[in-house]
């Protein structure tokens, strides 16, 4: 086998594989791609790609049927094969959809193997839509807890929130496709940072340095701008990105990695202006790594993606105890409840209340997928 790639993009589970498969065509060869699933049909989306079929004995080449236990068992069954694809790879970016069986059950296991063989693992995990039902929600929630411990960086993407980014007139049935496309775009922007020949180069090792410790919460933001002042527009869009927002989510991080990519009109000055705008919003006092590159395909479109992490904090259980030292400034209340808090806001940290299979603490407009008019 040839030299392992410097970055490996891995899709886990049905949703993850389809996102990665769609992306693969537009990725440069330096970025490796692999698909992992119990269901062999996923692999048909990308013929010729590196694939690992897990859990042959457990699922017989079919899906897990939404059972997380089955998903983790399948991953454990093929430990050796998984370790092999990760060996020698510095950075692994795993994409998976939580809520189902393979994703919810297998993600933590797979991430664990990758970390053990020495890779820095960054995971993008999507959370099911509210209308997908209670069971998937619960499974997804549980999975994030364990997953966060195994990855160096975990970005949780809520499909509900993504919906707001999509065109108003798109029918609800397209929501899945829309969410995938959005994540794909974000990943592409991120992965593209490491293709050689950048305007301002970044070293994959630098990315590793930011996310040195597992369990550290990760900030991810993505914004796009076009036309006049595209760089600043993109920066502002990134600042307002719903993923980095929510009444009590983390907004200031110590280390930032900012990747600005655009068409031939992108200048270094514009890129740095955008970075400065992003820094005012997200911090990056300890270190900010900048990568800027030109991609002729983009025309006058500029994309800004931001990855951020702070110093790791001691992991505490998901339920936030009110009596905890809330006033300690060096230890911001980072918990995986934060992600939950973004959607459930004030109620993050309290037990979920379900009526008719919906978590009613989540705002009504989100659950009913009502698109709000944009802010002036």
């Amino acid at each position: 086998m040839e030299r392992p790639p410097s970055i490996l993009l891995v899709g886990l589970g049905g949703a993850g594989c389809s996102i990665v498969a769609r992306l693969a065509a537009r990725l440069p060869p330096e970025i490796g791609v692999a698909l992992i699933d119990t269901d062999t049909r996923s692999f048909q989306q990308l013929p010729g790609a590196t694939v690992v079929q897990i859990g042959r004995a457990q699922t017989r080449g079919m899906g897990t049927g939404g059972e997380a236990a089955l998903g983790s068992a399948s991953a454990e069954a093929d430990e050796a094969a998984l370790r092999r694809i990760f060996t020698g790879v510095p950075i692994v970016v795993m994409v998976t959809g939580l809520g189902g069986g393979t994703g919810s059950g297998g993600a933590a296991v797979v991430a664990g193997y990758a970390a053990e063989v020495g890779a820095t693992v960054l995971t993008f995990a999507t959370m099911p839509f509210s209308h997908e039902g209670e069971r998937r929600q619960r499974q997804a929630n549980e999975a994030t807890g364990v997953l966060g411990l195994k990855c160096h960086g975990l970005v949780v993407v809520h499909n509900d929130l993504l919906l707001q980014q999509v065109a108003t007139d798109a029918p609800l049935s397209e929501s899945f496709a829309a969410a995938d496309a959005w994540v794909g775009g974000a990943l592409r922007a991120l992965a593209g940072a490491f293709i050689p020949g950048a305007l301002v180069a970044a070293d994959p090792a630098a990315l590793r340095s930011i996310m040195a410790n597992p369990g550290s919460p990760t900030l991810f933001a993505f914004g796009v701008g076009t036309g006049e002042g595209a760089a600043m527009k993109a920066a502002r869009a990134a600042n307002e990105c719903p993923l980095a927002h929510g009444p009590s989510s983390v907004t200031k991080v110590a280390s930032l990695f900012v990747h600005v990519t655009g068409g031939p009109t992108l200048t270094t000055t514009a890129a740095f202006e955008a970075v400065a705008a992003v820094r005012t919003r997200f911090g990056g006092e300890t270190s900010t790594i900048v990568c800027a590159r030109v991609n002729p395909d983009l025309g006058d479109r500029i994309e800004v993606s931001v990855l951020g992490a702070s110093l790791p904090v001691p992991k505490s259980p998901a339920k936030a105890k009110k009596g905890a030292k809330a006033g300690d400034p060096s230890q911001p209340m980072f918990e995986f409840a934060t992600e939950e808090a973004m959607r459930r806001g004030l109620f993050g940290g309290t037990p979920m209340t379900f009526i008719d299979g919906q978590d009613i603490d989540v705002p009504t407009y989100i659950r009913k997928a009502v698109r709000l008019p944009a802010s002036p």
């Binding site: 009444p247 806001g345 004030l346 309290t350 209340t353 705002p363 009504t364 407009y365 709000l372 008019p373």
Partner: protein, 410 residues
């Protein structure tokens, strides 16, 4: 010369998600006069559930201290308000066969029937908190006073409210920890109704008390409670929705909700732009009013959909097989909306549209002006309900020796 009887002191406490209130009154000439009042923001309760008992205890204790100071009396017994889904209610009945030779119902028959009703065991792990009398029936016919009437089968009905034993112990224990005894529990929705609905209204009315953490509802039919329930959604959810949607802090969201919120969303709202601070100063933000009304109205209406569903479920249980319609024949007085969230603009209109019944905002009648607001319907009603349903016994003159003993209780 008859000895002068001491007028009884009545103290009530309502612990809500947003505020804890206490009222102390005295019975004078058959009417309750207010002696003291105190209010504080509740600490430690979210969505109507206790999440930090210590903070809550401290908060309630401060409220008690304040009301004792403002009324100049010390409280020994208190009535507690009961709200939220933790307090579940159901209809129970006690049956008594009237002895054939007599054919007429006696008072003892009624007592026996009541006793047999109260002997029914509550669901496992739950403690019985209160009974509310419902119409008595003889041979299936509802009668006002069964004594002396002829019939074969006497049934007495109660609306019984139970709660998980642990939860109940926690509440009573918290009050006991302040050296106060709980005299009785009173259903919050019933209290709100006592303050806002007249007896003629109670021929058929739905009273909905929408607070910060919960929405409690109660249905009256022929002056008796028919059924009651609670949804764990309240004003807090509306504020939260707004804060997530606009990406603003909770306090700002609460402020905008009060100033610009509405339970109805109109097309024209989208054209209105509002400023958060209003002074265009640094840090001020612009918002589209349409967004605000859209978010709030969605939540408000959804909540009432839940209320409606809950009511229908209860009615289905009570009258299986009959599809009861919530219309003006059933509820002539329509709907009375009260509680803090009733202050939301266009609330009555919105509810009218959903429930198809005339709706009005219920404001409690009270001697003190400052309490004539929907958010105080609960506490005002508690006092009224306490006097009517379970009045305190006449206070005996404490002997000097007894007071002395009390002194050395330290």
């Amino acid at each position: 010369m008859t000895p002068k009887l001491l007028p009884s002191l009545i103290a009530v406490i309502d612990i809500g998600t947003h505020k804890t209130v206490s009222l102390v009154g005295q019975m004078i000439n058959g009417k309750a006069r207010m002696l003291g009042f105190s209010e504080r923001r509740t600490d430690g309760v979210v969505k109507g559930t206790v999440i930090d008992l210590e903070r809550l205890h401290h908060c309630v204790h401060e409220v008690v201290n304040d009301v004792e100071r403002s009324s100049g009396r010390s409280i020994e017994h208190v009535y507690l308000s009961l709200s939220g889904p933790a307090a579940e209610g159901e209809r129970i009945k006690g049956i008594h066969a009237i002895p054939a030779h007599d054919g007429k119902v006696t008072a003892k028959d009624v007592t026996d029937a009541i006793a047999s009703a109260k002997r029914l065991e509550p669901p496992a792990g739950r403690a019985t908190l209160l009974y509310m009398r419902q119409p008595t029936t003889i041979d299936g016919r509802a009668v006002a006073n069964p004594v002396g009437m002829a019939g074969k089968r006497l049934e007495v009905h109660f609306w019984r409210v139970t709660m998980e034993e642990g939860n109940m112990r926690m509440r009573v224990g918290m009050v006991n920890g302040m050296s106060i005894k709980v005299r009785d529990f009173i259903l919050a929705s019933h209290a709100a109704a006592c303050a806002t609905a007249s007896d003629s209204d109670k021929q058929g009315v739905l009273v909905v008390d929408m607070g910060a953490g919960t929405t409690d509802w109660i249905l009256y039919y022929k002056e008796h409670i028919l059924c009651a329930g609670s949804i764990p959604v309240g004003g807090e959810h509306m504020t939260n929705d707004l804060s997530v949607a606009l990406r603003i802090s909770r306090e700002t969201a609460e402020d905008l909700k009060i100033r610009f919120g509405s339970a109805l969303h109109r097309e024209a709202d989208a054209n209105q732009t509002i400023w958060k601070d209003g002074d265009r100063g640094l840090g001020d933000q612009q918002f589209n009013r349409g967004t605000i009304t859209q978010v709030l109205s969605l939540r408000y209406q959804e909540t009432f959909e839940y209320v409606k569903k809950d009511i229908m479920q209860h009615l289905e249980q009570l009258f299986p097989g009959h599809a009861v319609k919530l219309d003006q024949y059933f509820l002539p007085a329509g709907i009375i909306l009260t509680g803090g969230s009733a202050n939301l603009a266009d609330a009555a209109e919105a509810v009218h549209a959903i429930m198809q019944l005339p709706t009005r905002i219920g404001v409690p009648t009270f001697e003190n002006d400052s309490l004539r607001k929907p958010e105080y319907a609960g506490i005002v009603g508690l006092m009224t309900a306490a006097i009517t349903d379970s009045p305190p016994p006449v206070r005996r003159q404490r002997g000097f020796l007894a007071s002395l003993k009390d002194l050395f209780r330290f």
